[in-house]
Structures are given as C-alpha cells and as structure tokens.
Symmetry: C2
Subunit: 462 residues, 2 copies
C-alpha cells in the first residue's frame, strides 16, 4: 500500500466532492470484502479486497469495515484482533489499531461496534452499491432495508464523487499500472514462446498463470486462452492447438497493490499466419492504430470506437466481405457483425474500473448509450481527461452462430456479403488489446514496448 | 461427468436413505452455485459448482437448480437457455433439456419456474445448508424464511442421508481421486525441482499452480507454499527462500470432475536437512507411518490421531524437548504444543469433504468432540469404513507466539521443556501429508508412489 497520507488525502477529496454535491454531513460506510467461499465456508477463493476500500483505506485484509464522518472528517476502522488460535493457523497479524495507523485512520473499533455506530448515523448513512451477496445481506441488516432494496439505497452523490476521484489516476497509481502491464506483457510473451500445435489450451493457461502468480500478484480476471477466438469470452481450456489455427490470449496481471493490466494477443499456432489470417490481423492493427492516433483530452471515446469500426469496414470492403457506404455501414450497426463488442473500457483497481458503480455512470456521463447490437456493449463513451486509463481492443470475429441467424434473416444484406463471408467462417476471431493513459498532451501506452506487428509476432512464433 | 445413470442411481439411493429415515414424501431442492463476484458483478472467480449438485446432477455450469420429488422420484432441472448475445460472448451452449439428459433428469424448466414449484412443495421442502450468501438469500426468498434463519431450516435427515452416500467412494470416484492425487504429486515434484535459495515463495507457487492448471483442472484449495512452516495455513507468498531454511508446500489439484487431491511436502531450501531439521522430519515420518499402519475398517480415526501424537511425544522425549509420562502427555493435550492440528480430514469432491454439511455430522457420528487445544481441530474422529478417503497429515511445529504464551504461563511445564525447546524455535514446521483409501482388507495410498524419505527428498534437492 501507499504512504498513509495518500488515504487521508483521498478521503478529504471525497468529502470535498460530496460537499460540492450539497452533502456536507452524514456518515459513509465502507464495507471491506470478506472471504468468498468456494465449496464450503472455510475453503475460499483468493481474497480480493473491495476496490473502493482499497482506494480509500488501502488495506487488503478480509472482514474490515470503515466509516467516514463527513462533518468532522473522522475515519474509523472496524476489525477484530487475532486470537491465539488465529495466530497458530494464519500467523502473527497486525492489530486493528496498527492497521488504522497504516491508512491514517484515527480510530479503530471492534467489528461488533459497527452496528450501533451505523444506527446512530440513521438516515444520514451513505454507502456504495454492493456487488457481493454477503455485503448486501450485511447492509440489509445494518440499515434495516429489505435485501432486495439495498442496492437502490446506495448513494448516487457518493458514487459520482468516487468516480470523479478514481477515474483520474495519480502518478503513484500510474506507476502501479505500468508495473501490472509489464507483468502482463511477460504473460503474453510466455504464451507466445510456449504455445505449440498438439498442446492443450490449458497448457498455455498454466504458463500464463505461472507468470502472474510468480510476480507476487495474481490474475486481474479469468484468463481467456483459446483456440476459439470467435467467442469473445471463451473460458474453457480443453481444446487442442491445431497447426493452421489461431490462438487468442486475453489475460492480465493484478499487481499486489490491486492495479490491473489487460492485454489481448492473437497469433498463429504455427510459425506464420496464412493469407486470410494475415489480412484480418493487419486490418485489426489498422483499426487499433486509427483509434490510438485520436486519443487525447476531450475526445469522446465513442468517436474512437466508431473510427475504428469505420477503418474495419473499409478493410472488409477491400477484402470483398462488406459493401455499400462505409458511414452507413457504421451508423446502421452493420459493422458489428464483425466487431460486436466495444473498443475498450476503463481500467484501474478493477479491470473494468468501477463497474460496480454502474457502467453508465462511469463510462457515459451525459452521453447516450446506444441500443444497437455491438455499440450497446461499448463500456466507455464519454470525453477523455488526462489521467484516465483504459483499454483499446478492436477485434474482428467470424461467429458461425451469428452468421447463421443474420444470413437467414437477410440482415444488413446491403452491407454484408454473406456468400463472400462464408469461406472465412473458420477463421475465428482476432483481437489486439493495449492499455492506454491520457496525458495533457495526448496519450501513451501503459507498460513496456510490445511489438505486435505481423513480423514481430511471426519472429516470436518462428 | 460420469454416465447419466450414475446420477439417477445416486438420487434413487438418496430417496431410499430418506425413506429409511421416515421421509418418503417431500421435495428436495438442490441449488447449484452461481458465479462468485470478485470485485464487481461481472468479474468472477473461477466457477466452482456446489459439490452436492455435482454429486447428484453432475453438471458443472452456473445458475442451475434441481428438484427431486421423493414420492415419485421425478427430478427436474431448472435453467435458462442461451440467447444470441450469450452465444456471441461465451460460445454455443447446451440447452437445459440437453443438460437434463446428461444427468438422466426427465424434466427441464426455465429457472423462473422454480419459485412456483417450490411454493407448491410448501413445508415438505428439504434443502442442504447453504454456505454462500447468494444461495442463502435465494433460499430466504424461495422459502419465506428470514435470511438469518435459512441454515437452521436445512434438513438434518437429508444431510445424514447425503453423508451416508458420499462418505463411501465408488470405484468411479476412486479412479478420479487417484488421478487428482497423481496431478498433485506432479505439483509437489515440480516444487521440489524448482525451489532454490533466493527465489520468492511466489515463484514456487506459480510453478505449482501451472501444473494444476495445465492438467485441465485447478487447485482444490488455496496453495500454501511457504518458508514459514510454523504457521499452519500461511497464505502469503512474499518471502524469500533462504539457504538453511525449510520450505513447506501444502497444495492439491482439483480434477476437471471436481475431485480433490491434497498433499503436504516439507523440504530443505538447500540440498540437505540440517541435524535438527532431519530429526524432526524423521519423527514426523514415524508419526505418519504409525498412523497409516493402523488404518483399517472399524478403526476410530481419533485413535490414529492419538497414536501419531504418542509417537511424536516419544521422539520429542528422545530429543529432550518433552518429558514425563507419554500417555499423560497425550491425554492432557500437552503434545499439541508441537502438533496443534488434527491428523486428517475426509477428502472427495471437497478437500474437506462435505464440510458444508457440518464437521461433527461428517467426522464424529456418535464420537464426542474434544475441547482440548489441538484435538478440537481434529476434523475426522469416527470409525472408518471401506471406501472412505481422507488425509493423513501429522506435523510438528515450533510456533514462537505459542511458545511465548505457554512458556510465560508455565503451561504443561511437566511435559514441555521450554528451556530445551527455545533454541529449536527457528526451525519452523514440518508436515507430511498423503491421501488414503480404506479398503475391505485395510487401506492404501491414493495416487502414485511418492517417496518422502530423507534420502529421496535430498536426492530430489541435490
């Protein structure tokens, strides 16, 4: 974690943000995460602290909670000190008072004191929307709301003030993200040097996970390591890599500090792309470069998405797979047959940063969300600001199930040449993904150089 | 998963078990697990199906539920078929009707039909105790019970009947466990050939995880890969391996079928044990052999625990660390200063098999549970039956915090020579763990041969 004053400064900034939203009094309750049971109460997944708790209190331990009094600025950390039995099983641990000092929190109290303190706050209690059932149940008990009504009771001004802070990364945070992306690049290079025809997807997955864990952190999301690139989120790892096919890795490290990396790399199982694969791969790179060339403060990210889509349409027309007016092909949503997802999403302490706060609040802010297939999956549309970090991940996909449905319906037949597309259906999908930071002057990639050109990929696969 | 008739046979056996407990009518509700959110609703941990659902229905997919009518034997699977958006994101999927056929379940219904069907069952609804908050919340809604009262409403006869079935492993299950233990042996051999002074614990953890994932399965519990063997469950991986120290790996694979392996190996960071380490290591092996030599149908597992403890006391006396009458040292609980945990636990679809059903019901069955420090942590005490599978994992630990407390209190000073123990405190902890099966004739180890003798370990470290 960072120096303790980082956390008190963030809490002060949050108070100012709420005061500017006419909320100068009240108590914010931050519930840290508990352990998450896998198949019985004591067999738990790897602990992941709540990102809001990490941002404002920094401590990545289970079963903590904290309050922040908006009037006085007093923060209190709630937790239970270890017993001798705890120490025998899990080793010596800091007391709650020691933890409180680490995040510049003046007071510490046993967890059991939380209920009475929350009751005292009464209607002036503010909380963020919970995304785990145990937090929702605890908030129901603490606030007296029905379980199903807990999320509706979350504080919109609190969410807005937290987004305003967290969406602009500080230099300390950017350094952590550069590190997480560096580990992520190592994961992808390990896959490029490991994957061979005859292996299982799980062999590549294992190697990628090894690099993430060995770095001292973990995985920022479930690894996609697949021969089925046409499926956007293919999570099984039981297929065999076949000569002539493509492999798609979408994976990221989470640093020990909690910050995420998220990259996607597509490459041939053999030493080189075939002609069609190379054509689509290079077109995805052109879409990528087009979007990245536009990144700067003030750019609406939706415009980068649409520009990448237009670049894709132009290339697909050249390949004889699309036809008609490019702008209409983009405006109508026909392009989404090949590019059915969004160009990217915010990234930070979460790989989809702050998605628990609500995708529209985080990614749209005064920008309307489309209901068109494809564009409706765009998670970030609003204007960019210096300090924002997000992914750029255009892709082109040949999805047999979507083809069967749309072709039968004759959907967008003026734009999509289904007869011409048919022989390409086995290609799968190609995605290229990087993580970017908006600067005052423009934008830069996060992490170290990672050359994704055809020549570089084929060199790594040779 | 196994052939579909395996699941209908198990459900028939469950019905017979309940009929013999005077429950011939009613409806059992099995809630499959949902995805478990990590840091926002859509970023989830690796999916783990509920083990009861796996045992009786076999399908390892999220968001399923099933009912079993005790009177007619009719089973119904509840789930929702994929939409085109689902297929674009996660690929083509079996329909609920197709899944129902895989587990010989006659009927399939949309998930939304579950509420009405459960209402019809009324007071005759039986369910197992939930261990995840989302399942508890769903049961609260389905049954109208308060959230906090859901677990108390679980059916004891159902739990007892399920234990009676699941505690005796079939040949099919034993084959799966042999496979899981084989992968686990590979994980431990990979650690033995990887770990070197100067590395971080996370380097070993990464290598161990790689082997598990590459096998097509996963990890059956959070890996303990530690230089701090004195902490029974040390889950951090941030320490450096130092020449002269010990390393303790406690890790297991979970096969794709859900069955678990669980082994512990202790070894020197350098090429060989030092004199004290060797003395304790060999004593732990003697405790291990003593316990294993007794394993047979009818043996109360608590007696194996106590025999291992007595073997430890004899050896610690020889080393001058304990004194007094060995039987009294065991009976009083003094031995637990060095061996503060249980000898083992059931293993199967869960690494602590069926622990969600209740440790006493699973492991004690008419045997009283001790409240003594150490013995109270024994999870399996009851008489063994052919087909039971469990771990044998004696260990000896030098825990500085426990030493400080007990020495100051003069606790068991007639048995523990604190002055003599003091120079051993830096040794840490040594645990040796294997997985065993009770047969008609006696018992056998699960998985392949894995020689843990000093000579074999030092050969692997050389």
């Amino acid at each position: 974690m960072f120096d303790s004053t980082v956390y008190s400064s963030r809490r002060d900034a949050l108070r100012r943000g709420l005061a500017s939203r006419a909320l100068a009094d009240g108590t914010i309750l931050f519930l840290g995460n508990r352990e998450s049971p896998m198949n019985y109460p004591d067999n738990c997944y790897g602990f992941r602290q709540d990102s809001s708790f990490l941002y404002f209190f920094g401590i990545a331990l289970p079963c903590l909670a904290a309050t922040l009094d908006l009037g006085s600025g007093k923060a209190t950390l709630y937790g239970d000190d270890a017993t001798m039995d705890d120490i025998v099983w899990t080793g010596p641990q800091s007391t709650t008072a020691e933890l409180a000092a680490l995040c510049a929190t003046a007071a510490s109290r046993p967890r059991a004191a939380l209920a009475a303190d929350v009751r005292r706050a009464g209607a002036a209690l503010l909380y963020l929307p919970p995304y785990r059932a145990d937090s929702r149940a605890e908030l129901a008990e603490l606030t007296g709301r029905p379980y199903a009504a807990v999320n509706a009771g979350a504080s919109l001004p609190l969410v807005e003030a937290a987004i305003a802070l967290r969406e602009v990364k500080s230099p300390l945070e950017i350094a952590e993200m550069d590190k997480a992306v560096a580990v992520t690049v190592d994961m992808h290079k390990a896959a490029l040097s490991t994957a061979r025809a005859g292996m299982l997807e799980s062999d590549v997955y294992g190697r990628v996970a090894q690099v993430a864990y060995a770095s001292g952190g973990g995985l920022s999301f479930p690894v996609i390591a697949t021969t089925r690139g046409a499926t956007l989120h293919a999570h099984g790892h039981d297929r065999r890599l076949e000569q002539g096919g493509l492999f798609l890795l979408d994976a990221g490290a989470e640093g020990a500090s909690g910050y995420a990396g998220d990259l996607s790399t597509s490459f041939p199982v053999g030493p080189s792309f075939d002609e069609r694969q190379r054509a689509i791969y290079e077109l995805v790179l052109r879409m990528h470069r087009k979007a990245c060339s536009m990144l700067a403060p003030g750019l609406k990210y939706r415009d980068a998405h649409l520009a990448a889509a237009r670049e894709g349409v132009l290339g697909l027309k050249d390949l004889g797979l699309m036809r008609g007016d490019p702008d209409e092909a983009v405006g109508s949503g026909a392009y989404a047959f090949f590019f059915p997802c969004g160009l990217g999403h915010m990234i930070g302490l979460d790989v989809h940063d702050m998605e628990d706060y609500g995708e529209i609040l985080v990614g749209y802010e005064g920008t309307e969300r489309s209901e068109l297939f494809g564009l409706k999956s765009l998670r970030l549309a609003k204007a960019l600001k210096p300090g924002m970090t997000f992914t750029v991940e255009p892709g082109l996909y040949f999805i047999p199930e979507l083809y069967a449905k749309w072709e039968a319906e004759g959907r967008f037949a003026g734009f999509i040449d289904y007869a011409a597309v048919k022989p390409w259906l086995g290609l799968g999908g190609i995605r290229n993904e990087e993580d970017w930071l908006v600067t005052e002057a423009g934008a830069r990639r996060l992490g170290p150089e990672f050359d994704k050109s055809v020549a570089a990929i084929e060199r790594m696969r040779g």
